[in-house]
């Protein structure tokens, strides 16, 4: 990065975990670096340089994206949810609870990304089959837990969200979806 001419700064406004930030950034700054280095939200991890591992997954306007493959300026005007914003220690998101209950993590490095990917998956398939869970999580890699428990954790979350419906506040999806496109229709 060092030898590039220091370039223009562009103002970016993002709503991160419900809080609005306006910051001047270089256009080349990645969203993951805005979150980690500028805003100090280090829960979003970087696990690769090939956009494959999914550790950097966050929700942009409710949709899971890899924040290592998106510029901060591309998120201008968007609502971003990171692992810090999805639930709290007192009030875990059902997916977080699922990972706790079903032992969905070991080292935990991939976990923030997997949880965010799972949140988008459950938004689209509130009652997914195990196959749908596996397909929805194809873009994340876990190198130690193994996927069995991750699938169990997501299934647990789905059941929890179905039964609790309305009682649990689902931070990840509340009010963030722009509601564009039809979600129904053809899946696979």
């Amino acid at each position: 990065m060092g030898d590039l001419r220091s370039s223009v700064q562009v103002p970016v406004t993002v709503l991160v975990n419900g809080r609005s930030y306006t910051v001047d950034v270089e256009p080349r700054l990645l969203l993951v670096h805005l979150l980690r280095d500028v805003l100090g939200l280090t829960g979003t991890h970087i696990g690769c340089d090939t956009s494959q591992c999914g550790a950097c997954t966050v929700l942009v306007d409710g949709k899971a994206v890899k924040s290592c493959t998106m510029l901060a300026v591309q998120a201008d005007g968007c609502s971003v949810t990171t692992i810090e914003g999805i639930g709290s220690v007192e009030n875990l998101h059902p997916v977080q609870e699922g990972f706790w209950e079903k032992h969905g993590l070991q080292c935990g490095f991939c976990t923030p990304g997997v949880i965010m990917a799972a949140a988008d998956l459950l938004r689209q398939h509130p009652n997914p089959t195990d196959e749908e869970i596996r397909e929805g999580l194809e873009g994340v890699i876990c190198r130690c837990t193994g996927y069995q428990n991750i699938v169990r954790a997501v299934r647990y979350a789905a059941e929890r969200m179905q039964s609790a419906d309305g009682e649990v506040e689902v931070a990840a999806t509340a009010g963030l979806d722009r509601g564009e496109g039809s979600q129904g229709g053809a899946t696979s």
Binding site: D49, T50, S51, K66, L71, D120, G185, S188
Partner: protein, 299 residues
């Protein structure tokens, strides 16, 4: 380095005319391994076409009945939009572009302009004989995807041109069709070989058949003269794969003969060639027997 994110197509076309402008849509090809690669763009000015309404729509052309997909439409939108149910092979291809996080960003225009030999959405588009629209200050022109794609990372896009839409001809909409892809690791991998077929059986005979193969040549390719040998092939109701196997096998073999795949860490050229044969056979047979099977289910 500057950043532009116009909301109007005219503005974007004007900015694209500046030689320093690099167009970006989802960025899933451009920003991979960014820490290392950004130096290659030096002083470029970036322009995002992601938020231009004309590039975001999926619609049917009133006069031609063609399905028109804006260049910035994402793989996720293609997979989930009602109108795209008429192009299931494209939906199947959209559903295997990276994992879901990538599908939420990856645009159909980017998939074509990036011109990877393994680009998935490009393959059904070649089978459909879809047409792209290219726009610059000089005006607008159209050309088939088959000629737009020139080689690995090479297209017919001229400096200053934007890809604005992909047009899928009415004649393939709703017809039996299929996209098949072979890969090793699903969502985080790219295709080893892929194939798409679209066909129609009328009164027991093949009246229409178009095939395309991906990742086996510098660009996805089709062999219209070979597809033509499927014309008139008898496919009785309730026909099974074995009933159409002879002609289909010879078509598949000719696709395999025309393939010139590379050997790399993912697979050898010989394996890829063998798989072209298998995938083309399965894609055509699956498409031709689709109607017969669908009727059986109805009965």
């Amino acid at each position: 380095m500057a950043w532009y994110q116009p909301n109007r197509l005219e503005e974007a076309v004007k900015q694209a005319a500046d030689a320093r402008t690099v167009v970006v849509c989802g960025g899933t090809d451009l920003f991979v391994n960014w820490a290392r690669r950004q130096g290659t763009y030096g002083e470029a000015d970036w322009m995002s076409v992601e938020r231009i309404p004309e590039l975001q729509t999926i619609s049917l052309d009133d006069t031609t009945g063609d399905l028109v997909i804006g260049a910035a439409v994402t793989a996720h939108q293609i997979a989930s939009h009602g109108l795209c149910a008429a192009v299931p092979a494209l939906q199947q291809a959209a559903r295997v572009v990276g994992g879901w996080q990538i599908q939420n960003r990856a645009s159909i225009g980017g998939n074509l302009v990036n011109a990877s030999p393994a680009a998935d959405m490009a393959v059904p588009l070649v089978a459909y004989d879809a047409v792209v629209a290219l726009q610059s200050l000089g005006g607008r022109r159209r050309m088939p995807v088959r000629t737009f794609l020139r080689g690995p990372r090479q297209t017919a896009l001229e400096p200053g041109e934007l890809l604005t839409e992909v047009r899928i001809p009415a004649r393939v909409l709703g017809r039996p069709q299929q996209f098949l892809r072979l890969d090793q690791r699903g969502g985080t991998d790219i295709s080893l070989v892929s194939a798409a077929a679209v066909a129609q059986v009328d009164e027991g005979r093949v009246s229409f058949a178009q095939v395309a193969v991906g990742a086996a040549n510098p660009v996805p390719f089709s062999l219209p003269e070979v597809d033509a040998s499927l014309q008139g092939l008898a496919v009785a109701d309730g026909a099974a794969l074995r009933d159409v196997d002879g002609v289909v096998a010879s078509v598949a073999r000719r696709y395999a003969e025309a393939a010139q795949p590379i050997s790399d860490v993912r697979a050898s050229a010989a394996y890829r060639t063998a798989m072209v044969d298998v995938l083309v056979r399965r894609a055509i047979a699956g498409t031709l027997t689709f109607r017969a099977i669908a009727q059986e289910v109805e009965e």
